[in-house]
């Protein structure tokens, strides 16, 4: 038998009312300010820190040419105001008397301040006509001024011949090489050439007779990887000496066997040297 009475949930307590109000408010906020839909597939931006160095594929553009020295001509006065400090702390504004009147320092470091004096600079002058301005410079060094320094620099730049540069130039410089680099203008790398050499080695049926010769074959590969024009052994293929003509034909056959050439070899001209003497000695 159930007893009559009030259950706790039958009454709207203040706490319950507050919680309900808070939930309703939150719901209203969500409905009024919906979040933007997430784009599927969007990528997170990546900050590129550095690029891999690109291949220098510039063509050789011209023959070697003389370049003026890339380094600045040493300015004689530049060392005067700031001589290299000797191990014993010298007085920078008056190094010469210091060096001359420095009996105490150990012999080894005592030579350094001596070299820093204007006297050794005169010895470095290549032409005998320059001691005069040098001596003037040495005299002026006592009365240092920016104007005189600039005048001396201009004068020395005019008088001193350009010194040879040790920077790369001529054939050793990429831009002025006389021979196109195989990994540059042609787009064929050294490893590509080595691969072609190995392929030709496999396909070259060398004729190891009593007389072995070196055959140079020239040919061009076209757009389609096929040979353009004939393959020339520079006349050896028609030699009256059978051993030579056979050697030339076998080299030419090897070139034919490679066709069609790999795309990386297309639109290039080749000169292949088939050395039967070495091949027969090693095979």
């Amino acid at each position: 038998m159930r007893t009559a009475g009030h259950r706790p949930g039958d009454r709207l307590t203040p706490a319950l009312a507050g919680a309900l109000a808070l939930h309703l408010g939150l719901l209203a906020i969500l409905l009024l300010h919906p979040s933007p839909p997430l784009a599927i597939g969007s990528a997170v931006p990546i900050t590129i820190v550095s690029h891999a160095p690109t291949t220098d594929s510039r063509r050789a553009i011209q023959a070697p040419e003389e370049h003026a020295a890339q380094t600045e001509t040493p300015v004689p006065q530049a060392k005067a105001p700031e001589p290299p400090p000797p191990p014993p702390p010298p007085q920078p504004r008056n190094p010469q008397p210091k060096a001359v009147a420095a009996p105490e320092p150990t012999p080894a470091p005592s030579k350094t301040p001596l070299k820093a004096t204007p006297t050794p600079k005169e010895e470095a002058k290549p032409t005998p006509a320059q001691p005069t301005p040098k001596s003037k410079t040495a005299q002026k060094s006592d009365n240092f001024s920016l104007d005189s320094l600039q005048a001396d620099v201009s004068r020395s730049l005019k008088r001193s011949p350009p010194r040879p540069s040790f920077a790369e130039r001529g054939p050793t410089r990429a831009e002025t090489a006389t021979v196109a680099r195989v990994d540059a203008g042609s787009g064929v790398s050294q490893s590509d050439v080595a691969g072609l050499s190995q392929l030709l080695q496999r396909l070259w049926n060398v004729n190891c007779g009593d007389e072995t010769v070196v055959v140079t074959v020239s040919f061009k590969v076209g757009d389609d990887g096929l040979l353009v024009g004939g393959v020339s052994a520079h006349g050896l293929e028609t030699s009256s000496n059978p051993a030579i003509s056979v050697a030339a034909r076998r080299a030419i056959d090897a070139v034919h066997k490679v066709a069609p050439y790999d795309p990386k070899f297309r639109n290039n001209s080749f000169t292949v040297k088939f050395d039967a003497q070495k091949a027969c000695a090693t095979s």
Partner: protein, 437 residues
Amino acid sequence: MILRNLSRAILAVLAVTAACAAALAPMSAAADIVVNVDQGASQPLPIAIPVFAGPAVAGDIQKVIANDLQSSGLFKPLDPATFPQVDPDANVKPTFDGWKAISAQGLLTGAVTNDADGHLRVDFRLWDVYAGEQLLGLQFTSTPENWRRIAHKVADAVYEKLTGQQGYFDTRVVFVSVSGSPAHRVRRLEIMDQDGFNPSHLTDGGAEVFTPRYSSKGQELTYMVLRPSGSTVYVLNIETGRQEALGHFPGMVFAPRFSPDGSHVVLSVARDGNTDIYNITLASGATRRLTTDPGIDTSPCYSPDGTQIAFNSDRAGNPELYLMDADGGNVRRISFGEGRYTTPVWSPDGKWIAFTKQTGNVFHIGVMRPDGSGERILTSSYLDEGPSWAPNSHMIMFSRDTGYGPHLWMADISGRVLMAAPYNLGATDPTWSPLLP
């Protein structure tokens, strides 16, 4: 003033133009990509030899050609089952793509015809498959029973065109066939085609025969017969069968060999404990002693030009190779390696001297230059001896005994080819004929 400026401008333009030309010239000249190939695959050259069109003998001819080329070790005749075309017309330029697909480097097409006069005619063309061009086009005619020789001639032509060396297939070999037990050896002169076909006896085996040597003329043979009464040197005309003894010597005679012009024979004579080399003029029978050294001088062999004679001698205490002028003067030693050198044989082209060499218990066939340089050992076995040159100065036939009796073997001077000759029975002392006419 204006003219001066103008001339300066012109000079400047010319200078710039010259500089540009100088700059561009080396570029264009050096545009080629340079590739060095100093290793190759020295392998038998793949060649396709379809059966020639014509009567049934065409198939036999094709087999002989293929066998010749393959036996040289320098060619690899391809399997006819792989051919893209069974009977290509010899008068039509082939479609090379199909032959390239089977890696054929050479293609031989031909036709055999029985002419109205009863002769057999063979037309053939040799093609360079990769270059797509004809290398050779020839026609041979002979009597029908001579079909094997025609085939050999075709093989010789192909061999020469593709190797640069003279062929040697249309040749014969004379040798000493050896049969019977060791106690009752029967040694007979025998002749065969170089491919082993058409063997026949030249002597009946009643006497032991040794060291047959062809004349460079190809018609005559000289050899030594050993009987209980002594030894005799004979000259035999192979075509006529006529045989003649060479002089009479009080001692034992052996190792005869013709001079290049066939007018003389040099041989060794052992008498009173000394062995020396003599020269016999065939027309007169006159003899001349060429060496007088107390050592054993033997195995004389003329140079192809007839001016020198190679021989071996133990005058220095060990068998070594020597050269002397044809009159016996200017003797000089040419072998200085380890071992014992014997049986020098000058190559037909004069560039090499083949020899037998013994080091310890091993025998070798080798070659060296006539000045003694470039010694090259080609073979090694229990017993290799008696080298004989093919007419192309490239192949050498010799005798090899591995303990089961002597057999004929062949090697080339590169040392890459070594194989048994096509004669399965016991044989020794081979001598290779010149090319047949």
